[in-house]
């Protein structure tokens, strides 16, 4: 079985995001990057499937040079080889899907896993667009996955409902939180990953179909203030605040 996982390296959500005025993406200096959390579920699902059926597992990522760290992690988790499409620009979903499509269209993957969305942009479209481009079955938001010739998945719906579906392969699955417990790479696998094949390619992105107009924080809706100090100080602070807001 030929399996593909599409991953993205994203900024850690705890980072201090700063957007310079007029820019449409945040400044990346001083930020910590990680493998997108949803993609970890995708890698884990793909590795488990490979362990079940055997076969070959490729991981692909579109992004700047730093994204190779995310690929390394996927290799350490159990992927067999990595494809890094070097891209320094911020692509929108259609562009990303198109770039991946160009790379893999001739490969005939039986199953493709992606995260449900990226934690930085959260559009949730790359996987499904890729499925459409490949003209294969796609199912999103998967919280349970089984394979026995066909795939059987559960999707999480509104109101806590779950839909159970069966699909024929080839298929594309986008993975939701809770699908599995991503493994922690063992040291021998981390060391082996260093020797696994990694290819770096470039691929011209198609023209963007949408334009980001502006990026910035939402207007502040109010903030909590932690009142510290001894009891007396705390009480007088609270009284002062209440007075300030004419509440007392």
């Amino acid at each position: 079985m030929k399996i593909l996982v599409c991953i993205k390296q994203v900024a850690d959500l705890e980072s201090r995001f700063q957007v310079a005025s007029g820019q449409t993406w945040f400044n990346e200096t001083d930020l910590a990057f990680r493998l997108n959390e949803y993609d970890e579920f995708a890698v884990e699902a793909a590795v488990q499937l490979k362990e079940q059926t055997g076969g070959d597992l490729t991981v692909i990522s579109v992004g700047p040079a730093r994204a190779s760290e995310a690929l390394k992690k996927a290799l350490a988790m159990g992927a067999d080889q990595a494809v890094h499409v070097l891209e320094d620009q911020q692509l929108e979903s259609f562009q990303t899907a198109q770039v991946i499509f160009e790379q893999i269209k001739a490969q005939g993957y039986d199953l493709i896993f992606t995260g449900m969305q990226s934690s930085d942009k959260g559009s949730g479209q790359v996987g499904l667009l890729l499925g459409e481009m490949l003209k294969i079955n796609s199912v999103s938001c998967v919280v349970a996955f089984k394979y026995d010739g066909r795939i059987e998945v559960e999707r999480e719906l509104e109101g806590g409902l779950r839909a159970k579906l069966k699909l024929a392969t080839p298929a594309l699955v986008t993975c939701q939180l809770g699908l599995n417990q991503p493994r922690y790479p063992t040291l021998p696998n981390i060391m082996k990953a260093k020797k696994k094949p990694k290819s770096e390619v470039t691929s011209p992105a198609p023209a963007s179909r949408l334009q980001v107009v502006a990026l910035g924080p939402p207007p502040k809706a109010g903030a909590a203030e932690l009142i510290e100090g001894d009891l007396l100080a705390q009480v007088s602070k609270v009284v002062a605040i209440l007075k300030e807001h004419k509440l007392a």
Partner: protein, 663 residues
Amino acid sequence: MEATRQIYWNVSPLGLPVMYLLTALAMAVFFYGFFRRIKVYRQGKPLGRLDHLPKRIFRAVSEGLFQGKVSREKGIGELHQHFLWAFVILFIGTTLIFIETDILKPLFGVTFLKGDFYRVFSLALDLSGVVVLLMLGGMFTRRFWVKKIKLPPKPFDRIFYALLFLILLTGFGLEGLRMAVTETGIEPELVYYSPVGMYLGYYLQPLGWETLIAAHQGLWWLHMVMVMAWIALIPYTRLKHLVLTPINYALYDEHPFGHLPTINLEDETQESFGLAKPSDLGFKDIFDTDACTSCKRCEDRCPAFNTGKPLSPMLLVQQMGEVCFELKDGSLVDKIGKDALWACTTCGACQAICPAEVEHLPKIVGMRRNLVLMEGEFAGDEVAQAMDHLEVNANPLGSAPGTRADWAEGLGLVEPAEADWLYFPGCYASFDPRNQKVAKAFIKVAQAAGLKLAILGKAEKCCGEPARKMGNEYLYQNLAQANIEAFKSAGVKGIVTTCPHCFQTLGTAYKDLGLDIEVLHYTELIDQLWKDFKFKLNRIHLEVTYHDSCQLGRYGGIYDPPRNLLEACGADFREMKSHHADSFCCGAGGGRIMAEEKVGQRINQTRAKMALDLGADQLISSCPFCLTMFEDGVKGLEAEHKLKPRDLVELLADALPTLEERL
């Protein structure tokens, strides 16, 4: 006539040949008992502890004879120490008899057990016999009658005790019987050199010569056979420690306390990491499991055991021993249980007190390494999460690395090249608001003493200690390498930390990775500045107690500087129940700062309670982990208004004279 006695007086002609035969037999059983263990030890990796042999032998002899580690336990330790001294004198006496009767006299016709030497010899042996009996009585009473002392039973425990009692009693009996015939009333002066024998002799004399001689002969046989049986029993009972403990003293680790072997991650031939089975252990590890005398001093001090966690350092070592002695290379973790391994705070109280030189820490961390590096397992989801934060953000809290130096803005720090010391605040002082106050207080005091400090800022990463102690050597080394490169590229000459974990890791563990820079904990640095009259302190009036952090105290051996500084600011200082090398961990060591404490009582509350019981106003520590744990512990005990946890340097910063006061 010259003072002496006839050795082997009244022993029947058959006696000596039988005695030599039995000696040979007892020695054979004795040596077999030890030699058969060698194949067990050999399952492990080569020993590698035979360098500096003279130093090692010196330590074996000095610890063995002077019982420094043994006597650290009040009461029983001292009993054992005196028992051993008297026992050694008896042993020397017996050896002297052997040398005279079996070597010097038959070969050269030389005798030396005579005259004044005999008098000293006789008195020393007689009195030693009494001391041995008394101490043995004390140990026996503690062992079998004092209910709360529950030592795990070992084979023949009661039998070897009984045998030793009987050997001593029959020894005195023999002396009394012999003296009743040969000395009492005959050698009026010499009898005083065997006081016990003298009294027994006078008491027994009325029995008449014939009875005395017959009784002596019979008792001699009994005495001799019991001695041989006792010697033969040594390797099969708890008594094996007579041989194994001194050897283990010689095999001591020359590294600083708590040193963990650094895994070579470049070695691509290595396929298994950490300790999973006996063949992963070292010779010394397996020897340790055999040298353990199950005295349970470790267990008595273990913060995990004493708060109801499933870990006993003694049981752990013994379980490892059981797996090793099965000779099947079975699983260590299956025997011990993961929960026991994760419960350890690596506080080192067990290893520091162990009178048999057992090294618990590398074993526990070694087995954790196997779980983490080979199985990808952690103490809990929250620990996995913290590891993930460490990997991504270089701190276990998950804070943004770009904000690492925000706390230090406007504090007058300089560039590393211009600084007297590079201050390594570590993760807690950098990100945790409570500990940021400590960092600021430290800078205030250091600057008052005229020091120029710098920090690495955003280039600083977690020292890696919590990850390492939790078994994640790979993550630790990644963080360590990044820090070492940052130190080198900043041209750092000396480092000072407020965190004892950073202090130990940078100063000791990083040495294995090639960092050789002076690293001080602030308590040492400020104590020295104080002694050099570099700053002044006002007197403060507070009742305080001081908690020795494990990393600073047991690991670093730094006990006096913080106490000196408390004295310097005039605080009314009292010690808690456990202090110095016996300090009771706050619960955050061994990477447990990242873990939730789900089983048993809370360690931090247990420790805070000790300070509360003392009636102190403030619980002073000099470790961000301890401070964090105590802030939490005091809240848990609802004692915020009675006991305030603080860092020592906050106290000092408060005691700094204001500008007006200085003018």
